[in-house]
Assembly symmetry: D2
Homo-oligomer: 123 residues x 4
């Protein structure tokens, strides 16, 4: 697959073939997303941050994590599709907002949280 | 933006300009992803499944949810980029696997969980 | 067991016997908690709210959910113990705060979110 | 408060006074729990494991984390109460099971995952 739109279309078809639209409410899909992210987090829970950078060197862990990233992306794409949200546009807007909020001058090397932007940039 | 690869490249640049690569370990990014998914889930927690289908009719909720989907997608893309995983490929593999596991004949209209596939299809 | 303090003491001993204190940082325990809560959420993801009220009528689902509640409570207790937080006191404080924020007169039958309290009650 | 049962009783009363039982389905409470755990995880996301051990030295972070632990415990207690699960008993059962699965001899100093127990100990 080359594009998110194509994935979204396949997921629509996948649900329709199984009469699963009844289960795919935004509420339920947000829960499914949370469940899959929980599995992903669990892969990293006992690793040090440095070990987590090397995790793909273990073929079994690599396969599990790749499958979990696939699961997370599937539910995220399906949820966004149902809500009519373009993920790339939403991410671009978030990034633009973050660039104003976290200027390189003030936040270089710092993980502290910025205060909300003043309007009208604030969302 | 048109493609996930472009988003990943922007996020790399965004982190580099702020000297944030030190914070962006897979472990930390998985946590950030979990935090954002928690915010997304909270948007739906008191809604009925039907109400959750209508949530974008409320402009304030719609803007919040769109921003949260952007946040989730950003951390997911950044994490996958650091781990060298192509999200669309991973999703396609997951979907292929699910198509074998959840055949339309056996799972039409059913939300029950399938047993794992037997090897070699199993992962 | 009759008390949280007794559970916390057993968990300390359990970790010490296995030399697991090195893994039990607050960061790691918060991740483990998130992973277990993800499993709990997954139990309910395709159920309607009404079906979720009946879930303990299925002995297998009941056993899984009970075990997951146990897992969640264990990590929560261990995390709070390491941070020196008394869970019952913290809950009582939260509840007192919520009682001011969500007065029965203004929030009866409503799931809307209250604005933050003004200081000094605000935290 | 001295006991979980007392907290559960107060939460029942709190919900009844606000006519909130209609929102407090197990499904919704599991989501609320996931949302609060997401906030807790976010507190630790950019900290190193060592920094996370010192987090309560920062009075503001300490107050936020304490409040979030209170929130998590409240939703966990409310959910368990609705499902008729005694959290201390469930935790004791989990711990007994883990003691068989993770023997000190085999798992000292190791964070690797144990295989499931064979029946009848397995659950």
């Amino acid at each position: 697959m080359q594009e998110i739109g194509e994935l979204a279309a396949r997921l629509r078809e996948f649900a329709a073939e199984r009469d699963w639209e009844q289960f795919h409410t935004p509420k339920n899909l947000a829960m499914a997303l949370a469940g899959e992210v929980g599995e992903l987090v669990a892969e990293f829970q006992w690793l040090t941050p440095d070990e987590s950078r090397q995790v793909t060197g273990d073929p079994e862990a690599d396969a599990r994590i790749r499958a979990e990233l696939g699961d997370v992306f599937i539910y995220l794409t399906r949820l966004a599709d149902l809500l009519g949200v373009d993920l790339l546009e939403a991410a671009a807007d978030t990034l633009e907002h973050s660039a104003l909020r976290y200027t390189p001058e003030s936040y270089r090397g710092s993980a502290r949280k910025a205060p909300p932007l003043k309007r009208p940039e604030n969302r």
